[in-house]
Amino acid sequence: MSTLLAAGGSNLTAARYQMALSLGWHIVVACLGVGFPIVILVAEGLGLRRGDRVHRALARRWSKAAAVLFAVGAVSGTILSFEMGILWPGLMGRYGSVFGLPFALEGFAFFIEAIFMGIYLYGWDRLTPFRHLLTGVPVIVAGVSSAFFVVCANAWMNDPAGFRVVDGNVVDPDPIAAMFNPATPVQAGHMILAAIMVTGYLVAAVHAVGMLRGNRGPVQRSAFLIPFALAAIFTPAQIVVGDAAARYVAERQPVKLAAMEAQLHTEVGPGEHVGGVVVDGQLRGAVVIPHGLSLLISGRPDTRVDGLDSVPADRRPPVNVVHLAFDLMVGIGTALLVLGAWLGLSWGRRRDLPRSRWFLRAAVLAGPAAVAALEAGWVTTEVGRQPWIVYEVLRTADAVNTAPGLAVGLVVLIVVYAVLTFATVSVLRRLGPIAGGT
């Protein structure tokens, strides 16, 4: 029995890391899959409206990178579908039918996305410019929808709805109620905005590097401005939605909130903890804003907030990871807001980018920073849900595959993804400085 448990334990760890790695990888390319078509279509549309070849050429150059990213997005997503079953048969066997509907919808979204992506990418010389532009529209709609659908499924894991458990059996499944659970609106909205931000800042970062190297031609400028402006416009909205998400979590997943805020003990009118690490049951090194948390949640200084100690130890997530990840996300979100405002000010005054090289340097950093915020957000959500795979219904440990050898799969996966990352980056670099020269 004990050896069995030991094997199960290492399986659990292996399965978690495998899931985290493949999700964390997929989400970056998936964001580009949602956002890049938007950026490209804006450029193509500008070109069409102004009748200039420059923007069209830019869109076409970008679409080569999109082709590569789309393919690796598709294959890395496929492996996730396999993993849902291979790693978590206990989840899928029991609840697959309850939260399967959004995945089925997502399947059709993938079809539409892949079909029109094929037409768009290979249709530059076969369709009239206007028709070509039109074929990009379904790609965007399908991309945004697929993000929505898959997040519905994830939201259900955080806030399970649409079924009852009677004597250990799942009864009365209602897939529609499951799909539109209370976590869906905030999570889906936050995710779709994140996809646009990540794409915008990443693509802009590539061109900011080009500008810092002295290439300041009009194409490079457009190639920087289009994605950057798009991302900057959506940043304030993202912060508003993120704030709503935090209030939603406070209401429905109080233990996760306690971990996010490193709120160890239940307290009336608690302060907001910024940074800090929990060592030996004490939060050390945090900056405390008096009554901050209470104010954020309810607007009043004297709200009672549950701490981690409101549940027994075996129902608490690891606090440090969640707390620091959350603070990282919020910190980056705020910094990106400031950066966007900098551009906004300068644009308002002189219709131009800020003159300072520091602006471009910061813009280069904004790309990886947005990715970091994205990953940190997911760590907050997913690790903050632990030890549950379905919040307060099914433990992660009870869902994992007990077949031996998951650890081997993890090692192979690490190697494969290291190679894949290296190859993807080198191939993208070889596509050359996009719209360089001019």
Partner: protein, 334 residues
């Protein structure tokens, strides 16, 4: 309701074999196309033919997976848990195939193209093989319903699975060769068409022989399936044989468009023969479809989604194939 979902599921699986399978098969011929110089035109043809469509074709697999886990969750979990090894291998194969294919197209150095090309071609063969072993495992009833009860090794290392794997590779490459004949001719590359015709003839004969021999394998290894294949499914098996012979004849007289239809139908007949062979059981020898199916409140919205999605999907697919099957003389370029 469960039967309706099953028809959608099986149609999706069929489409995956006919379209996605052929894309893998094209990779098989890419592997055997010869050195960088001699094989260059063949590889270019293959690249043009599958470039715009393979990602859409690939989605059929995702479709089958998600429908299965929604409608038949226990069976899905059992299959994935027991067959974790070949499925993981297939998943890695899928990663390698897709990314290597698009990487090869995006780089200009010959040496890099060769590395990515080799990865693309090799994974195109291994992926259908492993998926075929999974089919063999399910069909021969080696996946128990209870989680953790399956034999993670012998469930897929056995005669039926080996047969499934070899047949899958054979069928994929046969279909690919058949499809590529017409593509090459339309592009005015009659010499390439001749080459693919020879390969299609050879593969057709080989697959036929393996299938015949396979019946003997199933007799010993999967008696229930054997009994049903030679019983209620027999008309479909005969139809498949007849269509297979007709395809060889059409290839012989170079009727490349007609042979696409007969060759595809021959494969369809085998797949649906397998379905009839298992009916009304889901895991080969046990777990009835009705017992495995999700309850009605789950199936009803699922069927609505499947029906609505199909209405959206079919015209889109028609548009895609219409655009890229009309003239392939003009270079399809990203």
């Amino acid at each position: 309701m469960a039967q309706v979902v099953l028809v959608f599921l099986w149609s999706g699986l069929t489409a995956y074999v006919l379209f996605g399978g052929a894309d893998f098969g094209a990779g098989f011929w890419d592997l055997l196309a010869g050195g960088a110089r001699t094989g260059a035109r063949q590889r270019a043809r293959i690249e043009h033919s599958i470039g715009p469509v393979w990602e859409a074709n690939h989605v059929w697999l995702i479709f089958a997976l998600v429908v299965m886990w929604t409608a038949f969750p226990t069976a899905f979990a059992a299959v994935m848990a027991t067959l974790a090894i070949p499925l993981t291998a297939a998943a890695f194969g899928i990663i390698l195939r897709g990314s290597a294919f698009v990487f090869r197209k995006s780089v200009s150095e010959i040496s890099l193209q060769q590395i990515f090309g080799a990865a693309f071609a090799l994974s195109s063969v291994l992926t259908p093989f492993f998926l075929g072993t999974v089919v063999g495992a399910v069909a021969s009833g080696r996946v128990p319903e209870r989680l953790g009860a399956g034999d993670v090794l012998h469930s897929w290392v056995n005669p039926s699975s080996l047969l499934g794997g070899v047949l899958a590779v054979g069928v994929c490459s046969y279909l690919a060769a058949v499809y590529l004949c017409a593509d090459s001719r339309r592009a005015g590359e009659d010499d390439l068409a001749e080459g693919f015709r020879r390969r299609a003839l050879l593969m057709g004969v080989l697959v036929g022989l393996v299938a015949l021999g396979g019946i003997a394998v199933l007799h010993g290894d999967a008696p229930r399936l054997f009994g049903r294949l030679t019983g209620p499914a027999l008309p479909l098996i005969f139809a498949s044989g007849a269509l297979g012979l007709a395809s060889l004849a059409l290839l012989a007289v170079r009727r490349y468009v007609a042979v696409r239809v007969t060759a595809a139908l021959a494969v369809v007949a085998v797949l649906w023969g397998w379905a009839v062979g298992q009916y009304p059981l889901l895991l080969g020898t046990h777990l009835s479809i009705d017992a495995a199916a999700a309850p009605e409140p789950v199936l009803r919205p699922l069927v609505a989604v499947l029906a609505g999605g199909t209405v959206l999907l079919l015209p889109s697919l028609a548009l895609l194939y219409g655009i890229f099957q009309s003239d392939s003389t003009e270079d399809a370029r990203v």
